[in-house]
């Protein structure tokens, strides 16, 4: 795994210690740039960050258009894995890349905890 700056390491540790999580990142929602990451080899961090932030922007607009407020958590399930994201009020995305059979409830809980730490 690659490392994260010290202050954010704890927040990412909360997520990556869940069984089935292949990596976690803090991403600037506005810029789509990686702020901190703990990723297994083979995950393209900058690409996931840029595309997740772009998706987050579009989702936010969709939520606003639908009149349902800001998104709190999203989970995209794919054949070979899943992407789970919690946006923070401060404009950071807490992102987890996980195996397909991960305990989604537990990852969600840890993402929300990490989001509280990040602010």
């Amino acid at each position: 795994m690659t490392t994260a700056p010290a202050g954010y390491g704890k927040a990412l540790d909360l997520i990556t210690r869940v069984r089935g999580v292949r990596g976690a990142m803090l991403v600037s929602a506005e810029d789509g740039i990686v702020v901190a990451e703990q990723l297994m080899e083979g995950i393209k961090g900058p690409a996931v960050a840029a595309l997740a932030a772009s998706l987050a922007t579009r989702l936010r607009r969709a939520m606003e258009a639908a009149g349902v407020g800001a998104s709190l958590f999203w989970h995209l399930q794919a054949e070979q894995g899943a992407l789970l994201v919690v946006p923070t009020p401060g404009g950071t995305l807490v992102v987890a890349v996980a195996e397909p059979d991960v305990n989604v409830g537990l990852v969600r809980l840890e993402l929300l905890r990490a989001a509280e730490v990040v602010g």
Binding site: E30, D31, G32, I33, P46, A49, L51, A53, S54
Partner: protein, 156 residues
């Protein structure tokens, strides 16, 4: 918005980049500011100004890096309230080129531009004519060549 190229091998990679990165304006030019392709510009004077300014910024940062005994800076990003400007060099068979990208923050982001710029650099490298010697622009021909390029870039 149209994409046009003076050197046709630049067109396909540029069209792909614009679509994927959501760029609003793009110039691909030589380090001297000679434009090879453009997207989104509607006036020749804007192309000339942007190319001159972009080339000048690259020259300035290259010189700053040289004075610091560093290799040239890879890229420069300048972000405003609504738009961002991304300027970076890339190596091709046609020599070192410079890409100037203007993006709307509503539509794109620095992360997306950086991500797809890497692909643009790879695509331009692959598409560029190998072993080609860049044409020297002589002072006597400069105005005519500039005029020809601008006519091509604006489909005249």
């Amino acid at each position: 918005m149209t994409t046009r190229a003076v050197e046709t091998w630049t067109l396909e990679p540029l069209v792909k980049f614009v679509k994927e990165a959501g760029a609003r304006l793009v110039l691909v030019m030589t380090s001297a500011g000679q434009v090879l392709a453009q997207h989104g510009f509607s006036r020749a004077v804007d192309v000339m100004s942007a190319a001159a300014l972009g080339a000048a910024i690259m020259a300035s940062t290259d010189e700053m890096a040289r004075q610091l005994s560093q290799p040239p800076f890879a890229a420069l990003n300048h972000q405003g309230d609504r738009h961002g400007i991304f300027l970076a060099g890339l190596a091709t068979g046609r020599g070192r080129l410079v890409a100037l990208v203007v993006y709307d923050l509503d539509v794109s982001s620095l992360g997306l531009v950086q991500l797809f710029f890497e692909q643009l650099a790879t695509d331009l490298q692959a598409a560029s004519p190998k072993d080609s010697v860049p044409k020297q622009v002589l002072a006597a021909d400069f105005e005519r060549q500039l005029s020809d390029s601008l006519n091509t870039l604006f489909g005249r």
